[in-house]
């Protein structure tokens, strides 16, 4: 899941301040799952902005709508009939959603209401943790299903640094040492010998070597 968090309200108000007709656009996918940009959050943000405008006696129209996915063209084009009524879209999608909407409606400014975060998992209600860098060459097999690139603060591929104590990362006692988890897990599976290998430098070209990454599937 891609996580996001709503920007500070003052920053949002500053960005939308020149506009009079505003569409607050939610996204019902990842950012809804992380309680940042779904239907409920879009309604709350729109309401907050309306109240703020009313208190300042500003004559501003603010409506909200939520798409199933803001990053997919087929859903975005459903805005075709209504987008002309607005002079700006305040998007609660992730960065991909903001850009996808902007590309399809180039004549309308699209403003981000979220800070897009990371690829993570939902640990508990209101608790999300980064677990994947999207490196393009998954090594989880070697490390017992725990990614040292995403979860070790130094991205070490050959074992823990000298700072881990009692299974905690030196950067923050709340952070589990990914390497401690890896060693424990592989020990349990009787596969600690996997870590005797010297893993070579990561091929980062699969992540960022050739500009924005693309997947093209001829069979689709």
């Amino acid at each position: 899941m891609i996580t996001g968090e709503q920007k500070p309200i003052d920053e949002i108000r500053e960005m939308i301040s020149p506009y009079k007709r505003i569409l607050v656009l939610g996204c019902a996918s990842c950012v809804a799952e992380c309680a940042a940009g779904g239907e409920k959050e879009a309604a709350m943000l729109a309401s907050t902005l309306r109240i703020a405008a009313k208190m300042r006696k500003e004559n501003v129209l603010i409506k909200e709508k939520t798409l199933d996915r803001q990053c997919v063209r087929d859903f975005i084009i459903s805005l075709d009939d209504i987008i002309g009524k607005y002079d700006v879209v305040l998007s609660l999608g992730c960065g991909a959603g903001v850009q996808a909407v902007a590309e399809i409606f180039p004549e309308v400014p699209i403003i981000p209401a979220l800070n897009t975060g990371f690829l993570g998992e939902t640990k508990d209600q209101g608790y999300w943790v980064e677990s994947c860098l999207g490196c393009g060459d998954c090594m989880l097999y070697h490390f017992g299903g725990i990614c040292p690139l995403a979860r070790c603060s130094k991205q070490l591929l050959n074992g823990p640094c000298g700072g881990s104590m009692d299974g905690r990362c030196e950067i923050d006692p709340d952070v589990e040492c990914a390497w401690h988890l890896i060693v424990d897990r592989l020990t349990k599976f009787g596969a600690l010998d996997r870590l005797e290998n010297i893993y070579p430098p990561k091929d980062w070209s699969r992540k960022q070597g050739k500009g924005p990454r693309k997947i093209v599937r001829e069979d689709q």
Binding site: L157, G159, G162, K202
Partner: protein
Amino acid sequence: MNNISKLKRVLEGGGFAVTAECGPPKGANPDVVLKKAETLRNKVDAVNVTDNQTAIVRMSSIAACSLLKTVGIDPVLQMVVRDRNRIALQSDILGASALGIRNVLCLSGDHHIFGNQPQAMGVFDLDSIQFVQVVRTMRDDGKILGGDDLSQPPDIFIGAAANPFADPLDFRVIRLAKKIRAGADFIQTQCIYNLDRFERWMGMARDRGITDKAYILGGVTPLKSPGMAKYMKNRVSGIDMPDEIIKRMEGVPKDKQQEEGINICVEAIQRLREIPGIKGVHIMAIEWEEVVGEIVKRAGLLPRPVFD
């Protein structure tokens, strides 16, 4: 000064090596480095120059090593992977070798969140083991990563660090073995206060037969005060500070505490010398370089060998 590693000559000659540490200044004044160099001259075989330690911006390690060479001291260039990608690391290795720097200690580096640039993008393109392997391949095969040939390989005595006190203990020896397999010629350890645990770790390393495949130098740091001992226990990652040491420091009058710190350090060195597989000592007197000479003298390690 000739361009041969004195550290390597001492170790290969079967001597018990002594190295110390020199932190470069938070400024551009070369005299700070040269002054520290004077206090260490003839007291140690080589001097490590830290690389923006604790992620605080300082004079570059390569520059400070080069300054040490101008006054005839054999430098150990510490290089961390935190700040440089594989292109910069390999380039700096070539540059260091061209400047006559013959020893490099390959490290991950302290995380930048602790320093004065917490907003920095950490690089960590290679890890320290991969870095050791890259330098070894550059030196022995004359090739960089990816296989391109070098017009002239670097001449580098390759070092790596080991921390016997971080967790998990069993894996620490596996990691040491990997560093040595990757190409480390010598190992300098984290500061040792818990000698019992250190001896256990060395025993595990000997059982794997790796202590004779690289020269292992035990790290020591003289304590200045009980406060410093407590700080290291509570605040410094990867330090194992037994309570007895803190009590011992607290048990002497304030004006004798520095002396007691030196006593503890000298005793640690004497015990390290008895451990099979230990080939030297690395004295990290943090911003207290002037005390190194006395420690070395009292540990019976003077005079240091002299080469032509």
